[in-house]
Symmetry: C3
Subunit: 318 residues, 3 copies
């Protein structure tokens, strides 16, 4: 179980590898700390010295300027030094092993690693190998997990909907291959959301639907009926190449979120998307920009959540 690595016996967050294994209490602690960082974000000087003298390594084996930038901004706002290392997996194969790379950076004084890798559980393997003073954040590992995204998404819902206990949430798209969907579903379920729907074609649903207590809809209109939260997923183009998805036009016709759908959902429903959005593919352009869309708020809250996670990892043991 992942929780053995993520949380100490005293209940302190040690690594953030997946939402799975995190207690509701720890998630709420992260949210509360994120709230205080949101206030800092609106101040004139947006910087706090909490990670001064600490070194955060962004170790990205999968290229993602966007995600890397969110961690870079979060770390710099905490006054940490940031080292960006983009390591193409191709060069990795010839060179030293990942653990050798990590151990070298630890010897140089790295305190926190944000690891993104195409192979599931790579961050966990690293977390198992490092000593107590070093902390690993999973920045996305294959189709396994993307825990900071799961946290920021549920934090966004809390900010707009206050309570989780009376919500209907629909996650729309390729659930099967999405690390974002897995982390979202796990967070919402831990936080007590009573009804989580997954909407998409049958072949893009996970095999363990029933275990996850998810209700499957393969019709978008039915799936969105009366929901409070619509979480769109980004269309992974590589799925189309694999033949899992017929064409962008067809996908948009069946599962793209359009203006008409908003009348089916609850009138106050919020629209979410992890970004970057493909306008006109998974979401109609005007819907992405409408009043119910909280997509840019997710980005803002994501910085606060990442600041909160880094601060909790580094804070002294009780």
């Amino acid at each position: 179980m992942a929780d053995n690595f993520q949380v100490t016996k005293d209940g302190k967050l040690k690594h953030l590898l997946s939402i799975d294994g995190l207690s509701k209490e720890i998630i709420i602690d992260i949210f509360n700390m994120a709230e205080s960082f949101l206030k800092i974000g609106s101040r004139d000087v947006k910087k706090v010295p909490l990670l001064r003298g600490k070194t955060v390594c962004n170790l990205f084996f999968e290229n993602s300027t966007r995600t890397r930038t969110t961690f870079e901004i979060a770390a710099k706002r905490l006054s940490a030094d940031v080292i960006n290392l983009d390591i193409p997996t191709s060069s990795q194969s010839k060179g030293e092993s990942i653990l050798d790379t990590v151990n070298n950076l630890i010897a140089m004084g790295a305190d926190i690693f944000v690891v993104r890798h195409g192979i599931p559980k790579t961050p966990e393997i690293i977390a198992k190998a490092v000593n107590n003073d070093v902390h690993i954040i999973n920045g996305g590992d294959g189709n396994h997990a993307h825990p900071t995204q799961g946290l920021l998404d549920s934090f966004t819902i809390r900010r707009f909907k206050k309570e989780f206990s009376n919500l209907k949430v629909a996650v729309v798209g390729d659930i099967k291959h999405s690390r974002v969907a897995r982390s979202e579903v796990c967070a919402l379920s831990t936080l007590g959301v009573p009804e989580i729907r997954v909407v998409g074609p049958d072949n893009l649903m996970p095999d363990d639907l029933d275990n996850l207590n998810l209700i499957h809809f393969n019709d978008l209109k039915k799936g969105l009926k009366d929901v409070d939260v619509i979480m769109m997923l980004r269309l992974q183009k590589e799925r189309m190449e694999d033949g899992d998805i017929p064409s962008e036009e067809d996908y948009f016709k069946q599962f793209g979120l359009k203006r008409d759908h908003l009348r089916i959902a609850h009138p106050d429903a919020i629209i979410m998307h992890p970004g970057p959005i493909n306008r006109g593919i998974e979401i109609e352009s005007e819907v992405a920009d409408c009043k119910q869309s909280v997509i840019l708020s997710q980005v803002t809250f994501g910085i606060a959540i990442r600041m909160a996670v880094m601060t909790m990892l580094i804070s002294k043991k009780l």
Copy 2:
């Protein structure tokens, strides 16, 4: 008109998109602030906390390590956090739109964007779309404008020549396609330089020569007669590929600045170049390094000018 976007009703600089639309007063304000930053540059600790807690995004859709570095150094010297984003235009076309990228970075807390893009007016389009707390600096947009270069060039002239009102200035090279030339000419004209000459072959002159009040010479010797300032332009190699310029040797023979020319100009004439210089193509190597050359001073002054612009953008509204 660009000025609506660049300057608030109260006369505050809001964006820097082009010299066109900037009043003489604002340009002089920038120069005076740059003077104070020049003094800081010679101190032992070259850093001031004016942009502490602010985030400057270098958003470069055209690769330019050199220009990006000048903005990065200027921002760091003001204690800002700097995020460098090199986005190849090729990848841009497939992904999210530029405005989506910008809006995401604003949601992360970016305060200033330095935008370089191959398509003219891209920085202006962004400036129109963002809200009041975000500021855009044009770092070069196609053949349209490069306002910080225009400012640092005229600031360099003020430093060496004190007064603009009695100067003869020659700009030499491909005026037609040069964003640097356009910004230089506009700055000098606003600052009251009475005689601006443009020297180069007919086919590299702009169509609106007369509107710009420029005197055209297609003979270098005649063009340099008695001038106080010689501003060389960098030869754009892509012009040669288009057939606008026959060969490097031929260009150097006709329009390359050589030792002999210095006797034609005013004895105290200064020699300028926006860099990086092509030695032996647009300028003879020994001329680039001679006492009258102020090419490296331009670089030093460029940091002070960029610090001044960023500080004026971020300073509170009156």
Copy 3:
């Protein structure tokens, strides 16, 4: 001689170009300062303001994320601003000359350059051209020198063995083409190591073996007999392409360090490697991780050594 450029008449370190030309006294000064930085590395806030307001340029014409990162971390821990410039030699050839690039960066306010280049003595050429306020550190130049590696290696030996005057040291691998080996041998010899052995095939030995006072062994077992320090070199793959080295398997069989060898050396012998290690090629994986291996300590000490060098370069003249 290099020493004219590296050390002022008053004995102050001005540039670090090669170990050759450095006195034992200066090396010991660097070591003593590095000791104080090691203590900082174990503090909660690992940062000191010694280089605040200074700009360190990592000017890498040869790609090396690892080495660049060590200088970046060292500079940031001293509170310097760091500018990373990776300039592929290919683009260099078309563009401005290296000295023009350097002079531009100096005009922007750069204080220290870390230069890595494939052509030997490039850092020295730059050092000769710059003025007194600018300092050059050789970050590796062709097969000539890698002085910070030589310093950190001998500092590691001092930390584990206390005295140099009674040591037997073996350097194993391709001595001929290794800038690391040259810098190591020079440092150890200056520090008074009485017996330096070089172990490897005849064709990978330098021509000036006798001048360097080295004892050559082409048999690994004989070379390691009773040594206190085993310094492995990284196998340069390009040597294999040149046919200097037959195959990885063959090389490992003859010159790879294996568990059995440790019984031949002194029981307290330490095992060193400049990294990144090729497990199973120049060193058996379990030997790299065994108790006698100090490979990761070298990395930690390397940060302290680089901090010490930068601090000594920048400190005011007496």
